[in-house]
Amino acid sequence: MVTQSTDTRFVVAEQLRREVDRTLERSLHSLDVLLGRREPAVGLTPKDTIYSRGTMRLYRYRPVVDEVYRVPVVFVMSLISKPYILDLVPGQSFVEYLLNQGYDVFMVDWGVPRPEDHKLRMEDYVLDLLPRCVEQVQKLTKEEEFSFLGYCMGGMFGLMYGGIFPEAGLKNLACIATPVDFSGMGLFRRWADPRWFNVDRIVDTLGNIPAEAILASIEMLRPLDRLMGYIRLWDNLWDETYVYNWRVRNKWVQDQIPFPGECYRQMIKELVQGNKLMSREFTLGARRVELERVPWSVLNVMAEHDHITPYDAARPLTSLVGSADTQELALKGGHVSLISGKNAILRLWPTVNEWLAPRSV
């Protein structure tokens, strides 16, 4: 009886000690989070800027092996976010992973649009800037063929480029969380209904769409995400690794950029309201995006729980392209966890590598 009460006291004391330790850890980490101290440095993989135009930069990451695959890989980023989600921190970087696997890796970073960039249209990105980047990659590597890896809207740009320039040397296109059927975009489409959403008035007044508006529209899809994120952070605040990963991810999520006004108008009218990519009527500079005659290989990777690019919006991609070599995969995770974090390291990255390696020789 005496022993049992001693044991219980011992257990209580042990738990108390653990809680005191955790409280101390929590206090230290919460100060770091609140004051923004020891901010994790992102995008550290060594790279060279090989071409620039306006805010756009084309990077080449320094190869880490002596022998690389013949076909270079070009990351095409979305206009909605900054590209460092692909190169977060050492050990959590898709770019670093591909370099280690033996690829020659490039990245098209569109930069942060300035007020004077509000006139940029999709034509500027797909018919002007992207071909120039491709030209630079081909010149530098002395290889005609290349692969595109597009995340979210970057995949759409890759598709559009390939549909307009089918003979330009695009060999492989991996689209990750890329929407093509905007009828599957759920709330986004509902909010952009032309009966009440006057995109002309908004773009004419604001020019570029402010980053805050973009972030708010994304957060409204899951209104409790931010609050729950903070509750979970508090729960795990004693755990240094959790806090570090949360800060890295949160930094990127909150680090939104403005959306070029004209491009936004075009996207809302032609893609979201008109769903023209799906109906094969989408044109850029009077040239139709002819996906039905593309010869390149296509990989379509979707996340099962993606609330930004829902499964229904991404799934028809492979049915749109005429290529015989297509593959689609639905992986566990959401829009961000598909591309970064433990989920990506274990699932997406090896999958892309397995698909790309035999097609890059």
């Binding site: 022993t3 049992q4 011992f10 738990q15 004077e116 908004i202 007044t205 209104p223 035999p358 890059s360």
Partner: protein
């Protein structure tokens, strides 16, 4: 013997107490996840209605209209105090950008001309380029096993 059973009892009590504490925390976490899902789906249902979409669009329009009024007022004020407005700076930046684009075009033309004369690409990388002959791990292994079996590399056998 008695000590052993005491130790076992201690461990059991420890495990039970820890287990109970963990169970409560785990239950709370599960409840949190479940509530998050329920609340999100409830809000999604509300936000998916026509009324909400109409109000959100109305809010955006009001925000845009207030921005427009503020910009107009600010422009008048800046003009009154002889200061450039945001639009003036933006148009200046546009002019600079078009100059930058033209310079880039001239640079490209010059590079092409220099390459035509020199024969080697201008601005070629100073770092040594990696060989572009890498093969996937599986293919390499298969090739190695082929070579081991016949003693002749697969590509040479194909030629033969």
């Amino acid at each position: 013997m008695a000590e052993q059973s005491n130790d076992q009892a201690n461990e059991q009590t420890n495990d039970q107490a820890n287990g109970q504490a963990q169970d409560v925390v785990q239950l709370w976490r599960e409840w949190l996840t479940l509530s998050e899902r329920q609340f999100n789906s409830f809000f999604n249902e509300v936000m998916g209605s026509d009324q909400f979409a109409r109000s959100a669009a109305g809010y955006m329009e009001t925000f845009a209209a207030s921005q427009r009024l503020m910009a107009q007022g600010m422009e008048r004020y800046l003009s009154f105090v002889n200061m450039p407005s945001r639009n003036d700076i933006a148009s200046l930046a546009e002019t600079l950008q078009s100059i930058e684009t033209r310079l880039a075009q001239i640079e490209e033309t010059l590079q092409l001309a220099a390459e035509a004369v020199d024969g080697s690409p201008v601005g070629a990388p100073s770092r040594e380029e990696p060989k572009r002959t890498r093969q996937p791990a599986g293919a390499q292994a298969a090739e190695e096993s082929d070579t081991e079996q016949s003693g002749i590399p697969a590509n040479l056998r194909r030629q033969a």
